[in-house]
């Protein structure tokens, strides 16, 4: 089974002209990693227009709509950091974590991600590290055992 976060889906020093551009970069990172079809990116933009995926602390977690599920090849995340920040409605985002999940996988995936981001040490490391391997390690969900 492929890794949840592929090294190819990590960008530590990105810049975006705005929210939609940032979401496209997040989506394209998922495409490059082979996790989704290019059409998934459009459903991520569609989702964002329906509801903001800003979750606080300068983090957004863009993901596709239900219609986008068919363009997901496997559950995956992408990690795109914008050191200069991106305007996101009334907020400012420095970290975009793109999410792709089949079926009901998104609830567990979001839960794992939220728990990582709520941990001050891991959250700080994700903002500051210059090491892609460390990002991959930090976003490795705990308890990824074989399903029973």
């Amino acid at each position: 089974m492929p890794e949840l976060l592929d090294r190819r889906a990590v960008r530590l020093d990105a810049a975006a002209t705005g929210r939609d551009d940032a979401i496209r970069q997040c989506g394209e990172a998922l495409v490059v990693a082979g996790a989704v079809e290019p059409s998934y990116v459009d459903t991520m933009l569609e989702r964002e227009r329906s509801v903001s995926t800003y979750v606080g602390e300068g983090v957004a977690i863009p993901h596709g709509t239900l219609n986008g599920k068919d363009s997901v090849r496997h559950d995956a995340v992408s990690f795109v950091r914008f050191p200069d920040g991106v305007a996101w409605g009334d907020e400012r985002v420095v970290l975009c974590i793109g999410i792709a999940a089949r079926g009901d996988g998104h609830v567990r995936l979001l839960s794992e991600l939220a728990q990582i981001l709520l941990d001050p040490d891991r959250a700080r490391a994700l903002r500051e590290t210059d090491d892609i391997d460390e990002v991959v390690r930090l976003l490795q969900p705990a308890g990824e055992e074989e399903p029973a």
């Binding site: 567990r108 839960s111 728990q115």
Partner: protein
Amino acid sequence: MSMRTVVIASRTGLHARPAALFVKAASEQGVPVRIRVGEGKAVPAASMLAVLSLGAGHGTEVTLEADGPGADDALDALAALLARDLDAEETSDA
């Protein structure tokens, strides 16, 4: 302490739009409300990350808690929100 137990009605679970609506409503109550799954740790209902961390899917039973004046009204309003399929109210083209 006042408590309400409610089953998540939204068909994709408590995330995205349903979670955004819930967190916004929770932050507008006059009292701090906490939410937990089963006997798990209760977390602030007004924090999106905390609510997402619960991993509450469709059909998950959650418990809302609050203290003080207005707690019962706040919990009634929030429990009623979770008992609705908030995804069904999403725009039809989404």
